[in-house]
């Protein structure tokens, strides 16, 4: 058995891991990234529209770089379906015409090229990347984590383990830091990827993501409030489509394969799909994964630790999902940067104890966006619309969550983040504008 020493070992090269690894390596820490897939991002599944605030307030090098984005997104179109027909549309949340799609509310990405790009930047900064290696356990001394054990039987010792493993949380459980997510807070998403010609996408959905809503009796989506809509995300020359369902809800544990296939079957009969998409879209992939949802709304989950002696958890591994719009990437980036700063300070101070690392948790709680993102309730509140049995109530709730009234609860945290960045460096404004322009050029 070989024994190796690093200052920091980052477990997982998904969206968060490389951000933490790059910062640690730049600060001169010897940093190892372990990735269980043979290529970063090949085991990451998302219907990924990364929201603008991830790029604006996340790592500066992503903002100033040329990441492999697929398509800028400049708005949300909500379609309401009854009897297999779209009967109403709410597209009130969108960037005003002349500014779109340069002014984007987010960007769609494929996980494999994007995570690979992130990991390459971390390696350039001096981090070591080992792929096809899984951390199967932690090395413990008393309560302290002192490294990881790999699936090859190696014991790799380090000062701090940064756990970016994702929602499954196997390592944090082994370390005794966190329990498993409860099934009521986990959505299983079945995702379809279709090839489609760019000009067809430009014409059919352009730069807007599409959400399809229906009352429960339509049997097209999970009962409202449980992952809810059918989503279509436009990519450069493809579309991603996803339907999700809680693993467990009040109704018990459903036969998920049958249920999700049934939802798709219903949706493929909706007039807009049949007329606009079906003749032009060619199925390329059918994949699924679990994602955390509403975890921040359960007291027992919110109170689970985000760190332990010698170990920091980031992103989904730390319960930092985004109940607001179900995208955990920004929180993974924010938490990765805070974790890296904490690790750097800890290694300099020679103190990796839980009491020293507790400043990480304070950093998360003091962040202008993270607490707001994990505690947002409007998505869950859609369940009330289901109980009310009123379509008008459903449309009102959808408008609150994905229409113009979204600004009501997103604006304040975003403005707080803008204020913080501007106070640090007023030139940040130019960086943001440059980013929107550069990203648009990358796409076009």
């Amino acid at each position: 058995m070989r024994s190796t020493d690093y200052d920091v070992i980052v477990v997982g090269a998904g969206f968060g891991g490389p951000v933490a690894a790059k910062r640690c390596a730049e600060a001169g820490l010897s940093t190892l990234m372990l990735e269980r897939a043979s290529t970063p991002g090949q085991k990451v599944i998302s219907s990924c529209t990364i929201p603008f605030y991830g790029f604006l307030f996340g790592p500066r090098w992503i903002r100033d770089g040329e990441p492999p984005i697929e398509r800028p997104i400049s708005g949300i179109r909500n379609f309401f379906v009854r009897d297999g027909k779209v009967y109403k549309t709410d597209n009130s949340f969108r960037v005003p015409g002349p500014l779109a799609p340069r002014g984007a509310i987010g960007y769609t990405v494929y996980c494999r090229p994007f995570c690979t790009w992130l990991a390459e930047r971390a390696v350039e900064a001096g981090a070591e990347l080992r792929t096809s290696v899984t951390a199967v356990d932690v090395i413990r001394e008393g309560n302290a984590v002192r490294g990881v054990v790999t699936d090859r039987g190696e014991e790799l010792r380090c000062g701090i383990v940064i756990d970016a493993e994702g929602v499954q949380n196997l390592l944090a459980r082994k370390a005794g830091i966190r329990g498993t997510y409860r099934p009521e807070a986990i959505e299983l998403c079945l995702l379809y990827d279709f090839k489609m010609a760019k000009q067809d996408i430009d014409r059919v959905c352009g730069y807007q993501i599409e959400y399809y809503w229906a009352m429960p009796e339509e049997e097209m989506i999970a009962p409202l409030g449980q992952g809810s809509a059918v989503y279509i995300f436009p990519y450069r020359e493809s579309i991603h489509m996803t339907i999700g369902r809680f693993l467990k809800a009040e109704e018990g544990v459903p036969q998920l394969a049958k249920l999700l296939d049934g939802y798709y079957e219903k949706f493929f009969q909706v007039d807009r799909w049949r007329e606009m998409y079906a003749p032009r879209a060619e199925l390329r992939a059918r994949i699924w994964d679990t994602c955390p949802i509403y975890a921040g709304l359960y007291e027992d989950m919110r109170s689970m630790p985000t760190f332990g002696d010698g170990m920091l958890l980031i992103g989904d591994a730390a319960g930092l999902e985004a109940a607001a719009i179900a995208d955990g990437v920004p929180s993974a980036w924010f938490s990765a940067e805070i974790a890296a700063e904490t690790a750097i300070e800890a290694m300099r101070a020679g103190d990796t104890s839980a009491s020293f690392l507790s400043r990480y948790d304070r950093g998360l709680r003091g962040h202008p966006l993270i607490p707001a993102l994990i505690s947002d309730t409007h998505r869950r509140d859609l369940a009330r619309a289901r109980l009310s049995g009123s379509e008008a109530e459903m449309r009102r709730r959808v408008n609150q969550g994905w229409g113009i009234r979204l600004l009501g609860h997103l604006a304040l945290p975003v403005l707080r983040a803008v204020y913080r960045e501007m106070r640090r460096d007023p030139r940040v404004l130019k960086g943001w504008l440059d980013m929107f322009n550069r990203y648009y050029r990358l796409y076009a």
Binding site: K43, I45, R152, L188, L190, L191, S238, A257, I287
Partner: protein, 91 residues
């Protein structure tokens, strides 16, 4: 040369067979409730003598739904070793 498997019903995904099973059910804990069968889209589990067991991991997408759902804590979920298991360019 690694062995790659595909399934027609799951396009866009490849599997490299794992060197050893990475999910198992502890029969002494399993209550036979069948929840793991209900949530698994890959048909990994089957019931035999009122206990769940792993029927085959060849379609497993490592989502861990079985781990999340098992109240009895009978499902032992691990990652397939050494870069094996599923992979996709389209996630």
């Amino acid at each position: 040369m690694e062995e790659i498997r595909k399934h027609e019903d799951i396009p866009g995904v490849e599997w490299v067979p794992a060197p050893r099973p990475f999910i198992s059910v502890d029969a002494s804990r399993c209550t036979g409730c069948g929840d793991c069968l209900r949530v698994c889209l890959a048909g990994v589990f089957r019931l035999r003598d009122k206990k769940a067991e792993v029927a085959g991991l060849d379609r497993c997408m490592e989502c861990a739904s079985c781990l999340f759902i098992c109240e009895a804590g009978a499902v032992d979920f691990n990652w397939p070793a050494q870069g094996t298991g599923y992979r996709s360019e389209w996630g």
